[in-house]
Subunit: 370 residues, 4 copies
Amino acid sequence: MPRASVAVLAALTVSAALGPRGAAAQERDPLPVPDLPGMKTLKADFHLHTVFSDGEVWPTVHVREAWRDGLDVVALTDHVEYHPHGSDVSVDLLRPYALARPLADELGIILIPGVEITRPAPGSPATIPVGSGHFNALFVTDPKALEVPTLQDALRRAHAQGAFVFWNHPGFMGTLEARWHPHVEEAYREGLFQGVELVNGKDFYPAVYPWIVEKALAILCNSDIHQPTPPRAVGGPRPITLVFARTADAEGVREALMARRTAAWLGDDVWGAEEHLRGLWQGALPRLPSALSARRGQRLVVQVQNVSAIPFRLRPRPGPAWVRLEAVTVQARATSLVFRVALEAEVTNLHIGPGHELVVTVPLEITVAP
Amino acid sequence: MPRASVAVLAALTVSAALGPRGAAAQERDPLPVPDLPGMKTLKADFHLHTVFSDGEVWPTVHVREAWRDGLDVVALTDHVEYHPHGSDVSVDLLRPYALARPLADELGIILIPGVEITRPAPGSPATIPVGSGHFNALFVTDPKALEVPTLQDALRRAHAQGAFVFWNHPGFMGTLEARWHPHVEEAYREGLFQGVELVNGKDFYPAVYPWIVEKALAILCNSDIHQPTPPRAVGGPRPITLVFARTADAEGVREALMARRTAAWLGDDVWGAEEHLRGLWQGALPRLPSALSARRGQRLVVQVQNVSAIPFRLRPRPGPAWVRLEAVTVQARATSLVFRVALEAEVTNLHIGPGHELVVTVPLEITVAP
Amino acid sequence: MPRASVAVLAALTVSAALGPRGAAAQERDPLPVPDLPGMKTLKADFHLHTVFSDGEVWPTVHVREAWRDGLDVVALTDHVEYHPHGSDVSVDLLRPYALARPLADELGIILIPGVEITRPAPGSPATIPVGSGHFNALFVTDPKALEVPTLQDALRRAHAQGAFVFWNHPGFMGTLEARWHPHVEEAYREGLFQGVELVNGKDFYPAVYPWIVEKALAILCNSDIHQPTPPRAVGGPRPITLVFARTADAEGVREALMARRTAAWLGDDVWGAEEHLRGLWQGALPRLPSALSARRGQRLVVQVQNVSAIPFRLRPRPGPAWVRLEAVTVQARATSLVFRVALEAEVTNLHIGPGHELVVTVPLEITVAP
Amino acid sequence: MPRASVAVLAALTVSAALGPRGAAAQERDPLPVPDLPGMKTLKADFHLHTVFSDGEVWPTVHVREAWRDGLDVVALTDHVEYHPHGSDVSVDLLRPYALARPLADELGIILIPGVEITRPAPGSPATIPVGSGHFNALFVTDPKALEVPTLQDALRRAHAQGAFVFWNHPGFMGTLEARWHPHVEEAYREGLFQGVELVNGKDFYPAVYPWIVEKALAILCNSDIHQPTPPRAVGGPRPITLVFARTADAEGVREALMARRTAAWLGDDVWGAEEHLRGLWQGALPRLPSALSARRGQRLVVQVQNVSAIPFRLRPRPGPAWVRLEAVTVQARATSLVFRVALEAEVTNLHIGPGHELVVTVPLEITVAP
């Protein structure tokens, strides 16, 4: 009786699914974000560390926290060369993925294999910032093979394994200014990386932002967390890479990353291509009113329901003199009052390029009953 | 130019819509609750007091707070006979409705005219509890006419005005046991009231619960608040009367009340007729899985997304011995993990009668891949 | 038996102390703020409106909310000349004080009589900003007497009643720049006002800040709220005027106001005289360590406990090159880790003048055990 | 220059003190609990698991979270015999203590060496509950030596190492009833354990409560957590063993445990000896008023400030008929209103024995001014 036997197994093992005894969350914040036409919007974190390098959590912890936080995709990216726990913990970087995969499958989280290549810049004097030689390689199959003397060679081997590679925290620690170093240029010319972290942790790098278009790089926005992630209600927003994928699986993630269909989302702010961000706006406000009528003496009040978890800060563009224009935020997952007749507005937290925000039109036809 | 002139008006008055300068909320919690087939589920509070009797807020405050809290319907029900602020404030009970109506219209809140008839029981000795002579009359048109010597006469006059009348807080203050008093019986026989508060404020009255069916009364669940209502995040859940209305307007509310299509919702608990509560369950979990398959050795994990603001506490009913059965709560507005194969369950917070909870079936077909 | 009779009274009236039935808070946030040597630090809000002018709450609501929010002093300051509720509510401005006083006495809140003089500037064309003719007068005894044709005369009459007068929201609504208008200069020269709101609601007025010292004005920081005040956990910080009073009573408040011993506190920021703010710092961190010792190879970690509700953002001043200097916040009511050896720091949220923050010294003697 | 060299070291290592890059809290909740005369009240968690057995966090994570949560003492108690991560992680149980100790020293956390002895009961058939053979041994020096065939022998070896031993979760998982098993009796007679968990995780064991006095056991209240501990604001209260110690160090903890000077604290409830709990009450309310006076017609209102993080739920004991008596909670870290004249009250959340709560007297002398 195969049915009975699997059931017995289920009965014995269910308590382990959220891990051993303890206080793991049993609820997931759905964190709704609109899909774009023909594409699923996946919420990802591609930069996480475990006890297998210098992190302080077991691989499953990141999967469970990603599920709790409404994420769809995670990559565990331990350091290839840095193993401070090496005397107590295995240094085999295939292990984190293997240990996390069963829980990821159960919870419906897409797990991406990955590592962090962590080098001083090649031939670097002390003046080269610490972070300039850090790159994450996703979809690698043989991490061990990346342990070669030079950064460039490590990147070449990742490339040979078909990896998607991105430059990590170019302005490391928020105290160093991001610069396009010679060794980065060298790797870039050779096509050894395809993306860059515009956001790492709580840090946004303004200097990196122009490179997105100039260098045609995919935008990444990751937590780089080494410890437990506090729940959003306490720890604040978590950096999320939005991935606009044709299919909601690892292959769909890879295709979208290679095609640079990503955006960065940190708290109130989103950075991405205009077409993607316009899609988010349109999907978030499905019932935007298009006409208003008022009797003489009646006030005009517009209610706008935002069904997404992304808020929209509106800065109205100039309209007729008799329209009062004020900045307003359309809060996430709420209905907001918009009291003014905004004909055109910039969405000041949807960034489509340095100094450029998404401009949206709310075409209101105002009629007045006598 | 009528268009211009209304616009100027709008420009001058918008700041007043949320009241004068101050810290009123500009966001509404959508508080999603499923509609039933052919009916809108409206969220109502039919018992509120203002400075026009013994409350401490202006009528508009209740409207604004109802909007913030996701309600659709409110009635301001000041005392007909009790006016402690009478030396400073008008005692005309048509005024609260008139003052609140423009804001209610702007915000899309359905405002119902109402008053509270506040009498000692007729011919009552001191042993008759304070609350037994309190009845709310909705849809009254002439509050002044209710100022007659006896409770019974006041109820008759409300009836004559076409009012929907319900008995308030039968177990007043939570310290007095609810009893079906002789004067209540008298009014009931004469058809002078059609509903009863099963919940008032934070108090649920167990003694009242059997009367709902025995006496064929509409269920009411109201706040009876006299002061500002703290936001839900601080003040906890607000009592809400769910009204299953054919149309989302005052007439629809009246028809549903008269037809007793209501339920009480306080925090985690809902009390109502089985057909209504089953409709809420079905609408809240639109994507309930109906089949599971697992490979031998794999754990069975079910994720359930609840799109409503009502949580569901499940107490599984006995299944095969090899299924582990545990109580679980499907949290509101979240995706929950349900680890066990629940074939049948009682929803322990959806009350369809004293001692009776809604029983639901989740028909799972389990197959095992070899 | 007088004892019995007062007790019966107590039994009958206790439920009214937090007002009629409803959801008023029963807990007060102590909101600890250090006293200065020889002075009590009182937390005040001197600008509040009720239904007696254009507010939407009964006078008692402000008293109860002030108690909940940890305040010690409030003034209800309804408009002398503006009575939009006049057809329903009395316009006697002695009433709000009289109605609120019993509750204030019970809760230990110091209630200050007050009104807002609300005029267009004298002889003003439309170009004079709306707010420039608004002044609060505290300790007035005859509000009716202020209803005279001109602003200057109204201020003179307040002065004659011994009032403490301050200029309200000089940069009204945050959209108009604060300017030292001719009629303000005229009133100032005549000694008709002694203070100014540096903060009103959530707005801080940078243009007003230099006037504090130049014109020797008392700093005021008030809410100007007309509606219920949401609890701090939801509505964010409440503006508070800190009053450094020799006695904790109305007379002590008056003496401190006249002597300009006040500061403004909004959220993280405090603006005041250096001597007062230094006193707050010293009182908040009573156990600041003065010496550290470490063994070679050990890290130096300092824990600092802030016993006050004011956080302190530190910007370290340059030290020896071998000390890592980073900005840090000593959170309110918590123990914080300060990892760096800060010899001298600016407290960037304690403002002692435009462009000047409090500088504090933490004299640490570092010794190293061999 | 030793001074310079340690400083350089400090500069290089400070960022590691809160662990590697990531979102660890930098603030500690002081969680104030009164000391008793001559004794420090230490807040402890003596049951925690790490990746070195079946936990999912690195040892330092528990230390950092304990600091954040206001704890003073922790023991990492990995399983002696159960090592599901054994193929990836060392099984040397001296390692968790060694790895956590430097951070504990920096943060001022008292770290106690410990292990969990995890056996099926000796000679047990399947009917013996899983948990009955689980004992924590604190202050052990040689964990390896406990790997002997029988539970009794393992306990004897712990005893020989001078360990303080307590029985874990006698009602395992909350689903099994606690019973005083024969093998427990055997160990008890031989003096092999001195305490018992009255609370484990969120579970309180009523059946265990009488044993505290009958068997003269120390009360333990521990989390037994294997995963990250969510911050209190999200995860709810953390179980805490209160230790009344003569000195705030490991030796003081050991002496207090052996002398059974402990109490259990979970959320609102505290269980302990009357003398200890009375000390907490007295320390928490230092300014309890002792006399009230009122003028005839004035209401009597008492404000009580609780300076501790423990709330007190009062159930008044019968007083004169003219005093209204209602249950009330004196909230933690707040000032509460107590409207009634409570002469004597039971503190219903301070449990001094099964069915017995602490009785306190508030001796109020009421006088009435004519």
